[in-house]
């Protein structure tokens, strides 16, 4: 079976004047199979969010290849890249800030549908469906981001991400800013959508316990490198890498 996402030799070097170059992501590679949920854990500064930005091409690559569903997207731009986004979407850490404060939620959720050529009435109908699918009511389309709670906003952000039926969903700390009870509901929502839509998920998270609950496989990142890979239960019970060991021991 062909992997939905294949990352080879992915590298990002941040250059700044006067200071030595900083290698945020250091020659990493991994594969994500269709329907799989892959966890990516690491502490702040480990480079895990940069990986998300590189895969989605929101940041330019310094070196390496990103292959999405068999297509090398590492050097795409403009229309080609926009077409690639039909297959890949992202959910961000801060729900409220991931919607334009001056526009209604429905506008943000329907943006991709409009951009890919649906007419206004179709978009409106589809947005209502998506909201219901994500556990909200259709009237949320008329709300502004600051009028709803963090959990509701994140549900809307998930609705936006699945609007064009992508095959790959990248969750960058998508539940970290939420209260635990809300986090649990959102994780349940991800689980349900994953089955309904046959989504593959790259789940970037700093909470190892959550990754253990939700992911099929896990990558541990430290200082820009992947230091360990495996099934969560095995990695947690018998970490091979020194860093992973320390990380797991420090959990309260």
């Amino acid at each position: 079976m062909q992997p939905i996402l294949k990352v080879e030799n992915l590298t990002k070097v941040f250059k700044s004047n006067g200071r030595p170059d900083f290698t945020a992501v250091d020659h990493i590679g991994f594969e994500l199979m269709p329907g799989e949920c892959l966890g990516l854990i690491g502490e702040s500064g480990s480079g895990k969010s940069t990986v998300a930005n590189l895969i989605t091409r929101l940041t330019d690559l310094s070196a390496g290849r990103v292959v999405l569903d068999g297509q090398d997207i590492s050097s795409l731009s403009g229309r080609g890249l926009r077409d690639a986004y039909r297959k890949m979407q992202m959910v961000f850490q801060t729900p409220t800030e991931s919607f334009d404060p001056r526009r209604r939620l429905g506008d943000g959720i329907g943006e991709s549908l409009r951009n890919f050529g649906n007419c206004r009435a179709e978009v409106k109908e589809r947005v209502a469906e998506l909201l219901v699918q994500c556990g909200l009511t259709p009237d949320f389309a008329e709300h502004y981001p600051h009028q709803v709670s963090g959990g509701q906003c994140q549900r809307a952000a998930i609705a936006r991400a699945i609007a064009i039926e992508p095959r790959l969903l990248i969750c960058d700390e998508a539940t970290s800013a939420l209260d635990v009870t809300i986090q649990k509901e959102v994780i349940q929502l991800f689980g349900r959508l994953r089955e309904q839509l046959h989504l593959s998920i790259l789940f970037i998270c700093h909470d190892i316990a959550l990754v253990q609950q939700f992911c099929d496989r896990v990558l541990v990142m430290y200082k820009g490198k992947i230091v360990e890979e495996g099934v969560p239960d095995e990695v947690i019970q018998a970490p091979r890498n020194e860093y992973t060991k320390r990380l797991i021991e420090s959990i309260l």
């Binding site: 989605t56 929101l58 403009g78 926009r82 077409d83 986004y85 039909r86 890949m88 979407q89 992202m90 961000f92 850490q93 801060t94 800030e97 991931s98 919607f99 334009d100 404060p101 001056r102 526009r103 943000g108 943006e111 991709s112 951009n115 890919f116 952000a157 936006r160 064009i164």
Partner: protein, 282 residues
């Protein structure tokens, strides 16, 4: 023991009231200048040498100038030139500065560096000297005065727009818009501009007063509006020589400048407070 009961402190929000008051005053001022032709008690250009340099009286509240023209009428008519040229000037620098700033912030790279160094050059130029130079090359007159002031005032707006655009580029919602397949033009028009225009408009409101003073200053030096056009700065200049003998003669244009600048400054301050959510609740 029963628990102590205390009165809650309630802080009223006065920004909205201030906004309404100063907004109305500013609108009144603009309406006045629009209808100035119908509000003047006398013909502002009618000379009456028999009644020149008259002191303030019931007939002529602010007196008359050396040609016997009614000062009050001239100030009212002058409001159109003064206020509208100021508003035009502020509109020009806001638009030009914003476009350049957004372009630089969005595009980055070499063109950004070049344009920002150019703006640094303009910022380093003393305003009046530049205006004198422009007047020297293009001749005096209101249009050239506006051009000169615009040329040295846009960089401030370009800088604000640039830094705001840079901040917008990093927001999750802009990244989400990019992932939704929106192109550059769409992102700029739908997400960036509406979100950066607030602080820029506040700066323009605060600049109205300053620009009015600068324009009046240029006219005072004879580089702005030319007689007989009534303009507050040039009116003060025309009558400057008579100041020692008939001191009230500069009172009317002086007061007019003072009051309008004050209204626009207070309005600008209030708009800034209102636009800032941290002070809006106070």
């Amino acid at each position: 023991m029963t628990p102590t009961v205390r009165k809650p402190k309630i802080i009223k929000n006065s920004v909205r009231t201030r906004l309404i008051v100063f907004g109305i005053l500013a609108v009144l001022l603009v309406i006045c200048s629009l209808l100035s032709d119908h509000l003047t008690p006398y013909d502002p250009y009618l000379q009456d040498l028999s009644n020149a340099k008259a002191a303030p009286s019931q007939q002529h509240v602010f007196g008359t100038d050396r040609y016997g023209r009614d000062m009050l009428s001239r100030v009212i008519v002058g409001s159109r030139t003064s206020i509208f040229s100021t508003l035009l000037l502020v509109a020009i620098i806001t638009a030009v500065g914003t476009v350049i700033g957004v372009f630089c912030g969005w595009h980055g790279k070499k063109i950004d560096t070049v344009l920002m160094r150019i703006s640094d050059m303009f910022l380093a130029f003393p305003g009046l000297v530049f205006a004198l130079a422009v007047a020297g090359v293009l001749g005096g007159g209101l249009h050239n005065a506006i051009f000169a002031l615009a040329a040295i005032s846009w960089p401030k707006y370009a800088r604000i727009a640039r830094s705001q655009t840079l901040a917008q580029k990093e927001t999750p919602y802009l990244r989400a818009a990019r992932l939704s397949g929106s192109g550059t033009v769409k992102m700029l028009a739908k997400h960036v501009l509406p979100n950066i225009i607030g602080p820029i408009l506040v700066t323009s409101m605060l600049d109205i007063g300053t620009m009015m003073m600068e324009l009046a200053g240029l006219s005072f030096l004879g580089l702005g509006a030319k007689p007989p056009i009534a303009e507050w700065g040039s009116m003060m200049s025309e009558n400057r020589a008579l100041f020692t003998t008939v001191p009230w003669i500069t009172l009317a244009p002086g007061l007019a400048i003072f009051i309008s600048v004050m209204i626009f400054n207070l309005l600008g301050d209030t708009v800034r407070d209102y636009a800032d959510p941290r002070t809006r609740g106070r």
